[in-house]
């Protein structure tokens, strides 16, 4: 498991996202209500840039004509064919056992901690160790 610094926390506000290239793959990092999640930016169906899709909710109905809208902002729809995935887990709703998009663990770390540790590898976001930036919080994605 290598950890990559991909963004500062304030770069991805709640409801926001950032698409990054890490370890040769395109990954979308999402902020949902202050929590960060990362998904492979490729739909398992035909390879559309999934993380460029719209965030929506989950529309449920127990019987025809009765609708409940839930989980607003947590369901990602592929920009091509609208296949829906749970941003938090990468699972699809119509075929959760077989169809899912790769998700990656995400952590938030203090710049100070990063500057002192030798652990994380540098990602595309250069975690400069100047005094000013070191006090910010950074988003890290773990790639196996």
């Amino acid at each position: 498991m290598a950890r990559y610094v991909v963004a500062t926390v304030d770069e991805i506000p709640p409801g926001g996202r950032k698409i990054v290239e890490v370890a040769g793959r395109s990954i979308g990092v999402f902020n949902i209500g202050g929590e960060f999640y990362a998904l492979r930016n490729s739909c398992p169906h035909q390879g559309g840039a999934l993380c460029e899709g719209r965030l929506s909710g989950l529309l449920l109905a127990t019987v025809p004509g009765e609708y409940t809208y839930s989980r607003r902002g947590e369901i990602l729809r592929c920009p091509w064919h609208g296949w829906e995935f749970d941003v938090k887990t990468g699972q699809s709703w119509f075929d959760p056992a077989r169809t899912r998009v790769r998700s990656y663990p995400v952590q938030v770390a203090e710049g100070k901690e990063l500057a002192e540790s030798q652990g994380p590898q540098k990602g595309p976001y250069v975690a400069e160790t100047y005094e000013v930036t070191v006090e910010r919080q950074y988003v890290l994605v773990e790639i196996p």
Binding site: R54, G82, T99, R100, P105
Partner: protein, 370 residues
């Protein structure tokens, strides 16, 4: 730390398509009314400004996606999907290294109730296609848009462009006012045959009849899944009215109608014909033979049976190795990616035919990649 793993169909890396690719269904659109007006005579510009487009728009169920387009197909300059050649080059022609793409603009000329206006709109669309798409981009060819509910006006439009190498097909839309075998449409076929142009019949339309044979449904999904009914009606009509006896060199391309339904339809027609052929004595061969000889089919959208072997059976039943042609339907939301379109791996020779060679032969496209 690691989430619990389920058996999963993981995201795969994109593969380069190893064979040449010819895309038989690309939709270009006017960037704005101003562009349309450059090509429309003043009289019809005024008509468009004051009266606008008027037809039977039964198909306007709210789409899952705005403009029925891929969410990522909106150019950054804010123009509508399919209206910006530079963006289309980057997102489609270059991205997939397409050898050719066939343009099928769905801009409503054929569905206009005012037939003269429909003819003006068709002519403007064709002039614009030539000037702003085909001439600047050697990979593109266009379909001739015609006001098909008036076949004399439609034939005039075919005469206008039929000799130009930039136009390779005549475009009709699946839901016409009457079934396409009816004699009112024959002058269109006569003109097409004169110029050896195939007739493309594309998903959609506004002929005034309901979306399905059972009436108007509630949802877009019913419209989308129900459209093969219109295609089936057109195949039946074209065969049973004797169009292919009258025009033995006529070629028809079914675009965006699916194809899994075609073999059983041919079987059913053959069975009916054996019992009822006295009613249509001018048919000298079984309906399935006309279908096999005169119809081409584009791949998108493809029915995807739950098992790969069902799909292989379907291809065998279709018996259309020389007739099936690849299409993306760009920029629409049900776009098929050239490297992932098929649910099974195809034998290399068949793949070459479907991805490019069948279209190259039908549309008479010279090789570009040596």
């Amino acid at each position: 730390m690691e989430p619990i793993q389920l058996a999963e169909r993981r995201t795969r890396k994109r593969q380069r398509v190893q064979t040449p690719v010819i895309d038989c269904d690309i939709h270009n659109a006017f960037p704005s009314n101003e562009t349309l007006y450059k090509y429309l005579p003043a009289r019809w510009r005024r008509h468009h400004e004051t009266i606008g487009l008027r037809g039977h728009y039964g198909g306007h169920y709210p789409r899952a996606m705005k403009n029925a387009a891929r969410h990522d197909a909106w150019p950054p300059n804010g123009l509508p999907p399919g209206s910006d050649l530079a963006f289309m080059r980057a997102q489609l022609l270059d991205a997939w290294d397409l050898e050719y793409g066939i343009l099928n603009p769905l801009l409503g000329a054929g569905g206009q109730l005012n037939l003269e206006f429909g003819a003006a709109l068709a002519r403007a669309t064709n002039e614009w296609q030539l000037a702003e798409w085909v001439e600047p981009e050697p990979r593109l060819r266009a379909s001739i848009v015609v006001p098909y509910e008036d076949s004399a006006l439609a034939a005039q439009e075919i005469e206008r462009w039929g000799g130009h190498p930039g136009f390779v097909q005549v475009l009709l839309i699946a839901r016409t006012a009457e079934p396409l075998g009816r004699r009112k449409y024959w002058p269109i076929y006569e003109a097409a045959v004169r110029h050896d142009l195939p007739i493309g019949i594309h998903f959609g339309g506004a002929g005034g009849g309901p979306i399905t044979g059972a009436g108007f449904p509630s949802h877009y999904i019913e419209d989308h899944a129900g459209m093969p009914q219109a295609f089936q009606a057109q195949v039946i009509s074209l065969v049973c009215e004797g169009v292919f006896e009258r025009f033995p060199t006529l070629k028809i391309v079914l675009i965006e109608g699916g194809f899994a339904w075609l073999p059983p339809l041919a079987w059913r027609l053959d069975q009916s014909w054996r019992r009822l052929k006295e009613e249509v004595p001018y048919l000298r061969r079984a309906p399935s033979e006309y279908i096999h000889e005169h119809f081409w089919i584009t791949t998108q959208p493809m029915e995807e049976p739950p098992k790969g072997r069902f799909f292989r059976q379907l291809l065998e039943q279709l018996n259309a190795d020389d007739r099936l042609m690849f299409a993306t339907d760009y920029p629409h939301w049900d776009f098929d990616a050239p490297d992932r379109a098929f649910p099974v791996e195809l034998p290399p020779a068949l793949k070459r035919k479907i991805m490019a060679e069948n279209a190259r032969a039908l549309y008479k496209l010279p090789p570009r990649h040596l």
